[in-house]
């Protein structure tokens, strides 16, 4: 499976890029995050993040499909 991954705020700093294409065998968002976390050394536990797929908030239980644009969102601080 190929996914487009978007990074924001401290995850962007840790990844060193605002987006990347990632190849993974899993269609599970938790497993995908675990893989990326290991790769980039992200400090956030998944419980502190929200998931968005193709520009919409979604749940960690969503089954990903090839080509999905996936974002793991750290706690927000707008306003």
């Amino acid at each position: 499976m190929n996914y487009r991954i978007l990074y924001f705020a401290s995850l962007r700093d840790a990844a060193g890029c605002d987006s990347e294409t990632c190849t993974a065998t899993s269609t599970d968002a938790r497993e995908l995050y675990a893989q990326l976390r290991q790769q980039h050394g992200f400090s956030f536990d998944p419980e502190r993040l929200r998931v968005a797929v193709n520009g919409e908030f979604t749940s960690w239980d969503r089954t990903l499909v090839d080509g999905d644009e996936v974002a793991f969102l750290p706690p927000i601080s707008g306003g």
């Binding site: 908030f57 707008g78 306003g79």
Partner: protein
């Protein structure tokens, strides 16, 4: 109408968009960059957004406000990019026939925007360091 803006917000133009012959009350909120936060002296900050999702979630909040409160118009703009002390970071404006609804809707919108719209603040401190706020 929700907007992300990478340049100065034209508050007068936005206020004019709230005008309506039946509007007896208009409440606005603006959030500005303060010179201190959590006991630290702040030099400036930068906002980063997830633009597509921020736009969609912002519009959703304004739609909710229009359904829940008896209002006429509602607008919200949030800055992205670098800001200095005193700069406008977020602006909300609501017009309504009566002030109860205008106050309640304005408060609802800013509270929900702060809680739900994917925007992140990076504060620069006068000591020279900076960091993302992830409360």
């Amino acid at each position: 109408m929700f907007q992300l803006s990478d340049s100065r917000v034209d508050v007068e133009a936005l206020t004019r968009e709230l005008a309506h012959a039946g509007a007896g009350a208009c409440v606005t909120f603006d959030g500005r960059v303060r010179d201190h936060n959590d006991g630290r002296s702040v030099h400036g900050l930068a906002y980063q957004a997830y633009p597509a999702l921020a736009q969609a979630e912002g519009e959703k909040i304004l739609d909710e406000a229009k359904r829940q409160f008896d209002i006429i118009q509602a607008r919200c703009v949030h800055r992205v990019g670098a800001l200095e002390i005193g700069d406008l970071a977020v602006w909300v404006g609501v017009s309504a026939a009566h002030r109860d609804a205008a106050f309640a809707a304005c408060r609802y919108i800013i509270d929900e925007v702060k809680a739900r719209v994917p925007i992140w603040k990076n504060e620069s401190y006068t000591e020279g360091d900076s960091g993302w706020l992830h409360p």
